[in-house]
């Protein structure tokens, strides 16, 4: 059937669905623009998003094309191994709930840097944390933009460059005019579409197996051997497994665009409800992608999937074509495009907040910028990030960027998470400790990735990699914690220590 696949040819259904999505979201943006007059509305949607709405938006922000197409693809080619990623990405959410969500909402205004710098000296901490945030956002943007260009080329038959420019322009329209209000609703619509589409596909798959997933898995094992139900080649050594697990589990709690979403709700209780919804939705989504992956393995077949894309990324669209023809393929392709737009908009907004709120307003202007200036700088920063996203997308054309999502999680887990958690819970944490944690975690993770087999062997085709692990979190995250503790104990900061009681009060009770 592969020869008959319509992938890569301009598909009127896909384009129709996609244009409807863009039209709908631009109407939302037009409506949101009329309610975006203050910095608080631009960055935090006026804090009027409900817990359930924010749960959907968090899910929409988190379920990227990498997890939809990538995990379905990984499952369709390697079976069980996809579960290692799915479970890792899900178990980060309870950790966000227990340790981060409520204190973050009570202590900050727009960025996680607000919380890290709360009782410390503002300028050094802001600079370090903003750089940590921008590093994660940039890597994530590269992965998303290059993925967008390739996918859209495969699915719509548009050129890579056209695809990148369309994504950049539409996304910038949401952010620039509609700010966080538009971005939130785009993410909610996208989450509903993606979950609905995945559920529909899964139902159609299961309908062929008497609605019993075990019969589907058994069919896969019958055709490709029982190995598809067992751990395969993804995890080669125990250290590798633990290192990947650490990055997946604690990376979520250090992603700037996810953390920023907690400021859009009115209080800590709503922040808590939003993680409850997000965890439920994302868990369902990963269970569905597991079914889709096996569905593609059985109904489309290994060879047909790999023939279209070596990484298996087209498994879900190919499955849609087999199950529902051109119409369903068009719908799923449009959903994948919408997915990328929603994630990129969230990333751009969080990068803009780091640039304007953390660096310009808090560091350059020392928190004394007039209101109109804050909003103007926020919009200028959004344009800058939008242009940067398009430029990065064009610059990294044709590069293997699959490892960059993993790197973004490793950087988030090593650079941002230790400083955030220590600043919230450890009274003796100091300015020096915070800066040291962020710098050590970010630099160590980035350097070790450069010397890892992913870059040295897979990309540069060297014989040997100096650092044995593909994921650096096992070294970089504990190192960041250790350096933070040592620096804080070596040079105590009495003012920060004294301010902890007030911080603790606000962390529990909220703003006075």
């Amino acid at each position: 059937m592969n020869s008959a696949s319509l992938l890569g040819t301009p598909n009127p259904t896909a384009i129709g669905f996609f244009l409807s999505f863009v039209a709908l979201t631009l109407v939302i943006t037009w409506w949101a623009a009329r309610h975006t007059r203050t910095t608080e509305e631009f960055f935090a949607a006026g804090r009027r998003i409900s817990g359930r709405q924010n749960g959907f938006a968090l899910a929409g922000d988190y379920m990227s094309a990498a997890s939809f197409l990538g995990i379905a693809g990984l499952v369709s080619t390697s079976g069980f191994d996809g579960l290692i990623y799915s479970t890792g990405w899900l178990v980060g959410w309870p950790v966000v709930l227990f340790l981060i969500a409520e204190p973050l909402r009570n202590l900050g205004r727009y960025t996680f840097t607000d919380v890290v710098s709360f009782r410390l000296r503002q300028r050094p901490v802001r600079i370090a944390a903003a750089i940590g945030a921008l590093a994660v956002v940039s890597l994530y943007l590269i992965a998303q933009m290059v993925g967008a260009g390739n996918l859209i080329k495969l699915m719509f038959g548009l050129s890579y460059e056209t695809a990148i420019v369309i994504v950049g322009a539409v996304m910038l329209a949401y952010v620039l005019f509609g700010g966080m209000i538009a971005t939130t609703w785009v993410q909610i619509v996208k989450a509903a579409l993606l979950l609905g589409g995945a559920a529909l596909l899964a139902l159609l798959v299961l309908a062929q197996f008497g609605f019993n997933p075990l019969r589907l898995f058994a069919a896969a094992a019958g055709r490709y051997g029982a190995g598809v139900l067992a751990p395969g080649k993804l995890i080669s050594s125990p250290w590798e497994a633990v290192s990947l697990g650490l990055a997946l589990m604690f990376g979520t709690a250090g992603l700037p665009h996810i953390l920023m979403r907690f400021y859009t709700v009115p209080d800590a209780r709503a922040a808590r409800q939003s993680v409850f919804w997000a965890t439920g939705l994302i868990g369902c989504f990963y269970l569905l992608t597991f079914v889709l992956g096996f569905g593609a393995m059985v109904l489309v077949g290994h060879d047909a999937i790999v023939a279209v894309d070596k990484g298996g990324n087209m498994a879900a669209p190919l499955l849609a074509e087999v199950l529902g023809g051109k119409a369903l393929l068009g719908f799923i392709a449009a959903v994948a495009f919408a997915t990328i737009l929603a994630v990129v908009a969230g990333l751009t907004l969080s990068g803009a907040a780091a640039l304007s709120h953390d660096l310009w307003v808090s560091v350059v202007r020392r928190g004394e910028a007039p209101h109109e200036e804050q909003l103007k700088v926020a919009r200028m920063a959004s344009v800058l990030l939008g242009v940067l996203a398009v430029a990065l997308g064009l610059l990294f054309k044709g590069q293997n960027v699959a490892f960059m999502v993993g790197l973004a999680f490793a950087l988030a887990a090593s650079g941002n998470f230790p400083a955030l958690v220590l600043s919230v819970y450890w009274p003796r944490f100091t300015t020096g400790g915070a800066v040291a944690a962020i710098v050590t975690g970010t630099v160590t993770a980035a350097v070790l990735i450069c010397f890892s087999p992913t870059v040295q062997v897979d990309i540069l085709h060297h014989e040997h990699a100096w650092f044995p692990l593909k994921n650096p979190a096992l070294v970089s995250m504990p190192l960041a914690f250790a350096v933070a503790v040592l620096v804080s104990l070596a040079a105590p900061e009495p003012a920060a220590r004294a301010a902890y009681a007030a911080k603790e009060q606000r962390m529990i009770l909220g703003e006075p």
């Binding site: 479970t87 950790v95 751990p231 633990v242 209780r269 603790e504 009060q505």
Partner: protein, 90 residues
């Protein structure tokens, strides 16, 4: 209940639940790393132990999330409003 006491109670619950989640997930990951044949054991046609445990990790994440939200909605929020009602601390 004083604020300090409530804060410590929240910390204990938050770290305990985080520890449980970490143990559950890394238990799964370490089994993947160390005992692949065990996870390949078929429990039923089409269901290996590995797939079952992976689904249970997702279930565990849901249960722990639900438990914390229930505790915080019922207990934490009530104590917080009591402390707020008692007026600002000296």
């Amino acid at each position: 209940m004083t604020l300090g006491l409530l804060s410590r109670q929240r910390w204990r619950i938050a770290t305990a639940l985080s520890a449980v989640m970490t143990l559950v997930y890394f238990g799964f990951v370490l089994l993947v790393a160390f005992d692949k044949p065990l996870l390949a054991t078929l429990i039923a046609p089409g269901l290996s132990l590995g797939v079952l445990l992976g689904a249970l990790v997702i279930l565990a994440a849901w249960i722990l999330t639900w438990y914390y939200v229930r505790w915080a909605n019922a207990h934490l929020d009530r104590r917080v409003s009591e402390i707020r009602a008692a007026g600002p601390p000296a």
